[in-house]
């Protein structure tokens, strides 16, 4: 089955991003496809390559990047939400790209299921 995922909250502040990641991992392990994760609202902060968590904490950003690398998951950051919050091409972590809200709508149309994680 083809999944689309929507993440509405930033990393470390809210569990939404962790829940979304663990859901994606389980879906991929079960043989499903996660074809896009769309980051909206404060969720755009998941894409910042300037993130530096303490060594004993998980690195939420590189974890997403690794998912893009290993499974070809399309990580899309909403351009309007990103610019509002200072996320730009120059501070984007690997695997992420900035695009419009149309990518979220397209995920809703193309995916068999769209699952939202937020506050």
């Amino acid at each position: 089955m083809k999944f689309g995922i929507l993440v509405n909250e930033g990393p470390y502040q809210h569990q939404a991003s962790d829940s979304a990641y663990l859901f994606c991992k389980a879906a991929l392990a079960a043989g499903h496809q996660v074809f896009r994760v769309f980051f909206y609202h404060d969720g755009v902060h998941n894409a910042s390559r300037l993130t530096e968590p303490p060594q004993d904490d998980r690195n939420i950003v590189t974890r997403w990047s690794a998912l893009a690398e290993s499974h070809g998951v399309d990580l899309v950051v909403c351009v309007a939400a990103a610019l509002r919050r200072g996320i730009k091409e120059e501070n984007l972590a690997p695997g992420f790209r900035i695009s419009g809200l149309g990518q979220l709508v397209e995920a809703g149309i193309q995916a068999d299921r769209l699952v939202t994680f937020g506050d």
Binding site: S19, A26, A29, A30, D112, R113, V115
Partner: protein, 99 residues
């Protein structure tokens, strides 16, 4: 359809509204802070028992364990892990996150 609730029932109306709006025969999954609703002997147990008459009710076990409340669940609630979460999403035609 699958209803996903992630808010504590003690501070938010999400679970209450979800239970009133949701149609008979749906599935309800408690994740994140909503897992506190699955614990027996609280002020919201009545609401959850009402939910159990209308839906299949599930709770995400990693979230229960993280919060130290995995051992005292209301009877009738089924525990799932993330694999079970994925199965619930595939089993239902749509899902609504009650944020």
């Amino acid at each position: 359809m699958l209803h996903i609730v992630n808010k504590s029932p003690f501070t938010h109306s999400a679970l209450d509204t979800c239970v009133q709006v949701g149609q008979q025969g749906g599935d309800l999954l408690l994740i994140e802070d909503a897992v506190y609703a699955a614990v027996a002997g609280t002020a919201v147990e009545r609401l959850v028992r009402h939910a159990l008459q209308r839906f299949r009710v599930f709770a995400l076990s990693p979230d229960l364990e993280a919060r130290g409340v995995a051992g005292q669940l209301i009877e009738g609630i089924t525990l799932v892990d993330y694999t079970g979460f994925v199965e619930l999403v595939t089993h239902n035609k749509t899902c609504q996150s009650w944020l």
